[in-house]
Amino acid sequence: MDNNTSAERVGDHGRRAVEARALSLGYGRRLVIKDLDFEAVPGVVWLLGPNGAGKTTLLRTLATVSPPRGGTLKILGNVVSGERSARRARSGIGYLPQRFGFYPNFSVYDFVRYCAWLRGVAERGAHQAALAAIGAVGLERQAGTTMRRLSGGMAQRAGIAAAIVGRPPLLLLDEPTVGLDPAQRLEFRSLISSLDGTTVVLSTHLVEDVRAVGGTVVVMNDGRAVFRGSGEELKAAAGPGWPGENALEQGYMNVIGTGQANR
């Protein structure tokens, strides 16, 4: 099902779904990210980086959950500077937090439908959109099961469904493959690849996902983007003598400056 309502509502944003200039983000007195420039166009953008690099912080800000301390943020062509503009932007954003919460009594269908409502998906068509999203993650048979009874992996797939329901133009997924078994990860990769016209920004620790899907890679370390480019360019950063699959890991470790991976 192709639901264009979200895109229409947020207006024509041209090519860039996300434009951030000189973003500063933090918690309390701690500044986690300082003066970051970030852009995302339709396609897949991978956020890699060690723990504490600022990936989740960045995604939360792009999802307009937390306001930036400084800099400018444009989501889907609209400047986000206050709660009203943030709320307007959210109707075009599908967000899966790293630790996403759900109401334990809700069934999978209720959960996905409720999240669709939270995001402003129009009531008419929401039922079909929810079913389509549940089908896309392979949870048709669990649609009536309460969330508390789902395994971790199934709950994660339900969270993905809640993020993609209504086909938002911007998808922000924080470690979406946690808890998924290898077969489900393959399905997830093909799901992401099939989202034409959607800007998908995901954070991950799994380099093989980057390898399989392709797209743009942004490596973050210590609150800065230390690399931005394609997977091939990251491989090239490994230097000569790193054949095959290890090159991506070595390239990653070179750009964050931690030395060599095992050959």
């Binding site: 937390s66 206050g82 709320r87 967000y95 937090p97 996403f100 759900f102 809700f106 939270l118 995001r119």
Partner: protein, 432 residues
């Protein structure tokens, strides 16, 4: 919003409570059905379970709302495109609806139990709205407690316990009792519109506060500043609650109704006139009136007896506020007995100031004996065992036996007691 509301309603933890709420309601109503048959009384009776229902609804609403403290839920709510009050409104609405359905079970029972035998009209909305406002207010209080604390530990206990204290300590302010007594649904009184409006405002103010303010709590660096409208709505809600709370103690919940233009009267001599809403009692009071007309000579029986409020500008009269039909008829008979005494011996006992204590006691005892006997004669039997108390020093069983003796013996009894009354009461007031 509709889909969110239905999802909340379908999945609310409170839905498991619905049978309990309904059971509590019906148990309270069914335990004593003296109110059945009179619409205002049935309506007032539906208020009684709210004292127990309210705290259960508050605790359940707090439990439900405290899910905002579950890991990850907060971020999900903060990433919503909907206006901030909408998710809270959907959840509170589901809790309130379940509470109100539980309350309405009792209302439906009241209607069902009364419809076959009640007079004109139907349930009185004033009483029903008082109960609904109290139930909705409890749901709102629970929601606030749950949302603000996000704690399934303390919020249900605090909300349930807090509402229990409020219900018990402030039941008269809420309109659930009047001056510490049951709101009996006496047709002479009705809920004062201003008082009802204040309590409805309290419920609405608490609801507005519940849906606007909780998301503003915990505001700290790292959140978008909420729009002015949300602050304003929350402030208005708090202001309305404060104003209603300030006004409530200054208001009586009930006001007297104008006397009916066409009371329901028995076709007897003497006649007894009731409120049309108490038509249910007409058959029973007719029997009383017939027996009052058959009293031995020497007693002056008034031409008519009135239920309280039926006669304009006359606040005396009997009340039908005592529960079962049998109990009610006893108290009506007692009230009629006192009327007969006043009519026969004077409205006000007047006796010489130099009267000795022995003489005074004799006069008192004689009067009490006469009242008890008159009550028994008019009632048509001895004082029911469910009615406790009575004139001091008077044995109801002995009087019951006296009332079964031949008329001549009873007439002699009347003459003896009348003589005692005449001896001591001021001749200027004697109207025999």
């Amino acid at each position: 919003m509709r889909s969110a509301f239905w999802a909340e309603l379908r999945r609310s933890p409170l839905r498991w409570w619905l049978p309990v709420l309904a059971l509590v309601n019906v148990a309270v109503m069914a335990s004593d059905q003296g109110w059945a048959g009179a619409w205002p009384r049935a309506s007032a009776e539906a208020l009684r379970p709210v004292v127990f229902l309210g705290p259960l609804v508050a605790a359940g609403a707090a439990w439900s709302a405290a899910r905002s403290g579950l890991p990850g839920v907060s971020d999900r709510m903060r990433s919503t495109a909907r206006v901030g009050w909408m998710p809270d409104a959907a959840q509170l609405a589901s809790s309130a609806v379940i509470g109100l359905v539980g309350y309405l079970t009792g209302v439906a029972y009241a209607a069902f139990a009364s419809v076959a035998q009640a007079g004109p009209g139907f349930l009185w909305p004033g009483y029903l709205l008082l109960g609904a406002a109290a139930t909705a207010a409890c749901a709102a209080i629970g929601h606030i407690a749950g949302r603000v604390t996000g704690s399934r530990f303390g919020a249900p206990v605090a909300a349930g316990g807090g509402c229990l204290i409020l219900m018990m300590a402030l039941s008269s302010l809420l309109g659930l009792t009047e001056n510490g007594n049951a709101v009996g649904g006496d047709p002479a009184f009705a809920v004062k519109p201003v008082a009802l409006d204040t309590r409805l405002l309290l419920g609405l103010g608490l609801t507005a506060t519940a849906v606007t303010l909780p998301s503003l709590f915990g505001l700290r660096a790292g959140r978008w500043r909420p729009e002015l409208q949300r602050w304003s709505a929350g402030a208005v809600g708090v202001a309305v609650v404060a104003a209603a709370a300030a006004l409530m103690p200054t208001q009586q919940v009930l006001q007297e109704r104008a006397a009916p233009t066409a009371p329901d009267c028995t076709a007897t001599v003497p006649r007894i006139c009731l409120w049309p809403e108490d038509h249910f009692y007409l058959k029973d009071v007719t029997a009383l009136a017939v027996r009052a007309g058959q009293l031995p000579p020497g007693l002056r029986v008034p031409a008519a007896f009135y239920e309280q409020g039926v006669k304009a500008d006359d606040s005396s009269g009997f009340s039908l506020d005592f529960g079962s039909v049998s109990d009610n008829m006893w108290f009506v008979a007692s009230a009629m007995a006192y009327n007969v005494m006043s009519s026969t011996f004077g409205p006000k006992a007047c006796f010489p100031s130099s009267m000795s204590q022995i003489s005074y006691d004799k006069m008192q005892q004689s009067g009490l004996l006469l009242v008890q006997w008159l009550s028994t004669r008019i009632f048509g039997g001895p004082q029911p065992s469910t009615v406790f108390g009575g004139p001091p020093g008077v044995d109801p069983t002995a009087i019951g036996r006296l009332a079964k003796e031949p008329e001549a013996a009873q007439a002699a009894f009347v003459r003896t007691q009348a003589t005692v009354q005449d001896k001591y009461l001021c001749k200027a007031h004697a109207q025999r």
